[in-house]
């Protein structure tokens, strides 16, 4: 079946350190993955995406890595800042072609000064 999950529910880091948030998925047919950030009281905000024909994609201070062999996805945040504190969700586009997002359980990132 389709499922996306996260390894760690909470990640605490010091400001300036790099953060790595992990995600496992079970549907080997998934071909599109997205990371969303959700701040308290707000809706999910798109961060970065990656297609299954790629293994790495970089954005501004963020990098997503995809390992299809073990069905693992990670989000790396460089030089983590207090404003990065939020819950991070990985999501996959479900089968059917109508862009249904299947979200994982979420990881809370807490950045300490």
């Amino acid at each position: 079946g389709e499922s996306v999950g996260l390894h760690l529910p909470t990640l605490s880091v010091q400001e300036g350190d790099n953060s790595i948030i992990n995600c496992a998925y079970s549907n080997s047919a998934s071909d599109y993955f997205i990371w969303y950030k959700q701040e308290s009281g707000k809706g999910p905000q798109f961060i970065i995406d990656i297609r299954s024909n790629m293994d790495k994609r970089q954005g501004q201070r963020v990098t997503v890595l995809l390992n299809k062999t073990v069905k693992h996805l990670s989000l790396q945040i460089a030089a983590t800042q207090p404003g990065d504190s939020a819950v991070y969700f990985c999501a996959e586009i479900g089968a059917g072609g109508y862009n249904k997002l299947i979200f994982g359980a979420g990881t809370r990132l807490a950045v300490h000064p």
Binding site: Y36, K42, G43, P44, A91, N99, K100, L101
Partner: protein, 114 residues
């Protein structure tokens, strides 16, 4: 920057009552969605809507739920007879034709059923 808006921000209703949650997607977007998030849990897909019809719906989206695009700007979610377990944050999202995978989410409506 254009954004998805939702009203109200918080809705309190009694069990068995009907509620309508309203959304104004980004104006040139063609795909619309409703998701919900029960407190402390993950975001769950409810329904997608394209070309004035439902394109996909989840098991959660039963006969008590309906969606409508009554005019060129609003997109609504109706729950006919609310249950306690409908209490959640409801998010509307939309995306453009040429950007099919980047869904923009609204701030959500917190629905509390008492």
């Amino acid at each position: 920057e254009p954004e998805v808006t939702q009203t109200p921000s918080h809705q309190v209703t009694q069990m068995g009552q009907e509620v309508i949650l309203r959304c104004v997607p980004i104006s040139n977007h063609l795909y619309f969605y409703w998701y919900r998030q029960i407190l402390g849990q993950k975001v769950e897909f409810l329904v997608s809507f394209y070309n004035n019809e439902i394109s996909e719906k989840s098991e959660i989206f039963d006969d008590q739920f309906s969606v409508e695009r009554p005019d060129g700007s609003n997109f609504t979610l109706k729950i006919r007879s609310t249950k306690l377990e409908d209490s959640a944050m409801y998010f509307c999202a939309s995306n453009a034709e040429g950007d099919r995978y980047e869904q923009y989410f609204g701030p959500g409506t917190r629905l509390t059923v008492t």
